[in-house]
């Protein structure tokens, strides 16, 4: 056991730290005040530029192969980067689905031509990606999806509908799962496509969320044609390929978000120092101290559990039970953190953005509402628990 860094890693850390110090987007720092801000639609432009800047500095896609715009570094550097970004309260990137999911899946399954065509553009944020998995009748039960892709010469013709598609309104490409063999067993007849969102026949309809903002969408396909070269990982092999993406989704959601919790927690503590409860500073209230201390413990714990999972990867081993608990742990801690942020504000918690009396511009109200999605998006907590019970603990299927 050793938490020290090699001289190279230390140099990398120093470099990242200095770069962040010099390059943090001022608009973001201002907006942030001291609290956790989840990127709202009006921040898309800042975040796009921010990702471009990070890419040019060589900080995006650290573990991706060099020849496709990555750095061929290890998860260790990725971890250092994430931590430094959290400490600097740096904004997240815009193309999260591209960098976290589409890219790694293309690295794993793509042809040479596909890797050359897509990867660097994902990293630089030139092309934004969205994930077209869920449908009105296929959410947790993803294999029930009905969107059809029918072969027509060298092309496939797509008809159907996706839903809850985050960023579809700004996306250039979609990771599309569609049924290519309706006669095959549910999991066997699905294909993974790379779909151009600007193709004729693609309609995107924003859906307003609980926050009031549209962040995800319905996407309709009306005889959309895509070329067979847009298949990723083989026809009717989409379930396998899609699972890989989900695995990366969990890893990406896992570690990156875990360290970002720190930004929210620091903000929460700052707010608690400014707010009063029962006539004294909130951080001096015994009950609030307990709750905040537990958040601190859980936040550190998630980071450490993530570090154990990463150690396994670095040693070339298969991630163990600790890897699968990360997303669930993050969800639980983040939702609790947001509840406590409301509790700290007391009656002020009712006042969102737009009110003169809103605490910190109502940022917390927004992230509180947004956090309800955490236990649904990327696989619900219930489904995660089924996976842990069955795949990790070996319990029988229901």
């Amino acid at each position: 056991m050793d938490f020290s860094l090699t001289p190279e890693q230390e140099a990398f850390q120093t470099h990242v730290r200095a770069w962040l110090k010099a390059n943090m987007p001022p608009e973001w720092t201002e907006r942030l005040v001291a609290s956790s801000d989840i990127p709202r639609p009006e921040a898309y432009d800042v975040l796009r530029r921010w990702q471009r800047q990070l890419y040019e500095a060589g900080f995006i896609g650290l573990t991706w192969p060099k020849e496709y715009g990555g750095r061929s570094l290890t998860f260790m550097e990725e971890m250092i980067l994430h931590e430094e970004m959290a400490l600097a309260k740096a904004p997240p990137i815009l193309n999260v689905l591209g960098v976290g999911m589409a890219g790694p899946t293309i690295v794993a399954y793509g042809s040479e031509a596909q890797k050359k065509r897509y990867l660097a553009r994902i990293l630089s944020c030139e092309e934004i990606w969205c994930q077209g998995y869920s449908e009105p009748n296929a959410g947790s039960d993803l294999a029930a999806l009905q969107t059809r892709a029918v072969k027509d010469g060298e092309h496939f013709v797509v008809n159907g509908q996706k839903v809850w598609t985050s960023l579809a309104h700004v996306a250039d490409w979609m990771m599309l799962l569609a049924r290519t063999d309706p006669a095959a067993p549910r999991h066997k007849g699905i294909t993974y496509f790379l779909l151009d969102m600007h193709s004729p026949g693609v309609t995107v309809k924003p859906l307003r969320q609980i926050t009031g903002d549209p962040e995800f969408n319905e996407v309709f396909f009306d005889n959309v044609r895509l070329h067979e070269s847009q298949v990723l990982g083989g026809v009717n092999n989409g379930w396998q390929v899609g699972l890989t993406t989900l695995m990366y989704e969990r890893l990406a959601l896992g570690f990156g978000l875990q360290v970002r919790l720190r930004i929210a927690l620091d903000g929460l503590i700052e707010m608690a120092r400014r707010m009063e409860k029962h006539g004294r500073v909130t951080t001096k209230d015994p009950l609030m101290r307990q709750k905040i201390a537990q958040l601190w413990i859980d936040t550190e714990c998630l980071k450490l559990t993530g570090a154990r999972a990463i150690t396994r990867l670095l040693r070339g081993e298969i991630p163990g039970p600790e890897a699968s608990t990360g997303k669930m742990g993050w969800v639980d801690t983040h939702q609790r953190l947001q509840e406590i942020a409301m509790e700290i504000q007391g009656p002020y918690a009712q006042l969102p953005r737009g009110s003169d009396w809103a605490v910190e511009g109502g940022l917390w109200q927004y992230s509180f509402l947004r956090s309800r999605a955490n236990s649904i998006e990327g696989g619900t907590t219930e489904v995660q628990k089924n996976i842990i019970g069955e795949r990790i603990l070996g319990l029988p299927k229901g």
Binding site: D2, F3, R289, E322, K385, L393
Partner: protein
């Protein structure tokens, strides 16, 4: 960075698991529960033979000079079998107090004997006020002749009845900061005025005593470390013992999870193994999360303690707060998922449930440690 165990440590784990499964089955644990001794001489001698009693002491004092990360591996395995006996009290409290505070002569006198299984040491620290801070130390040590007279009552003292020598924590100076007037003394078994009473306890695998000091006279050579300067080394001892206890808790919690998962695969209700029901499966998944997280914090604390860095105090309190809640919840869920059988004396689950409770309360519960975390992060 490498946040995993080494090959040597994995070997130690395999050896320890095999040894303890053979030597410390639940029949052994249950026999020790009803006897005051809490261990047998044969078993204790075997622990010494394995080198475990001196694992963390330097070689010059008869130990093997290993660290807390190694000890974590061992403690986890001990927790898996709810090992009874004075390991925590002798090796981690009394023994470490001598190591942290003692003179070279004192260390030479006692530590090789501890490592060889020839001497047992207890730490008489807490009192009826049940405080874990320096302010809780009210037992008095007054200068007299060429030594001191000790008076007061110590409570919740682990295994004092087995100890050849007690490390007694007493106040030598009043009126200063509470941390500044505390001293440690070596008091041998049988000293005049020393009265040790075994307390009936809920967790019978962990023996607690009341220690009464009726004007016990000790020479000045009994002083362990500087006069009035006993609290800092004691703090280091408690921190280390706390990390060791956390590791024991992780091992116990993991074993409860393993037992429960095995049971859930074979117990049939309504025509299916109960593990197929989500009500059961989801509880088991929650148990896994608790166990894995408790391990992450405990391993980190063990590493921090080995490094002796400033993060050790915070890491220790984070681990103890988390593990206290986690083991309690996991042990309770284990009973729940076993149904009626889990509620019987016959089944081993209650051993774990009770150990979880006594461990939770030892060295401060989760609430106590969360408050320490709050202080250490300058809340």
């Amino acid at each position: 960075m490498d946040f995993g165990f080494s090959q040597e440590q994995e070997m130690l784990r395999a050896t320890a698991r095999k040894f303890l499964e053979n030597e410390c089955p639940s029949s052994y644990v249950r026999d020790r529960m009803i006897e005051p001794a809490g261990t047998t001489d044969e078993f204790w001698a075997k622990l010494a033979e394995q080198g475990w009693l001196g694992l963390i002491y330097p070689e010059e004092y008869g130990g093997s000079g290993l660290g807390f990360v190694d000890l974590t591996v061992l403690m986890e395995e001990m927790g898996r079998v709810v090992m009874p006996g004075p390991f925590l009290s002798t090796v981690l409290l009394g023994g470490l107090a001598i190591f942290e505070a003692g003179s070279t002569e004192q260390k030479k006198e006692w530590l090789p004997k501890v490592a060889a299984g020839e001497a047992r040491v207890a730490l008489a620290w807490t009192e009826p006020n049940a405080r874990w801070d320096a302010g809780g130390v009210t037992a008095a040590a007054k200068p007299a002749d060429a030594g001191f007279v000790l008076s007061g009552t110590k409570l919740f003292v682990l295994d004092a009845h087995l100890a050849d020598v007690l490390v007694v924590v007493a106040r030598t100076t009043e009126g200063k900061q509470p941390e500044q007037g505390v001293s440690l003394f070596l008091v041998p078994k049988g000293a005049a005025g020393l009265e040790v009473k075994l307390l009936p306890t809920m967790d019978q695998t962990r023996k607690l005593c009341e220690v009464a000091l009726h004007d016990v006279r000790v020479p000045s050579s009994a002083l362990l470390g500087p006069k009035d300067g006993g609290w800092p080394p004691l703090g280091r001892v408690i921190e280390r013992a706390t990390v060791a206890l956390c590791a024991e808790m992780c091992g116990g919690a993991q074993k409860v999870l393993d037992m429960t998962v095995e049971y859930a695969k074979i117990r049939i209700a309504f025509g299916k193994p109960i593990g197929a029901y989500q009500g059961v499966k989801h509880k088991a998944a929650d148990m896994l999360v608790d166990v894995e997280n408790a391990k992450s914090l405990t391993y980190y604390a063990a590493w921090a303690v080995d490094e002796n860095g400033p993060e050790a105090a915070l890491a220790t309190s984070m681990a103890k707060a988390y593990a206290s809640d986690a083991y309690r919840k996991v042990a309770a869920a284990g009973i729940q998922l076993h149904g009626g059988i889990g509620f019987t004396w016959e089944h081993d689950l209650h051993l774990y449930f009770k150990r979880a409770k006594s461990s939770e309360l030892t060295f401060g519960d989760a609430t106590h440690h969360r408050e320490r975390v709050a202080q250490l992060i300058n809340l």
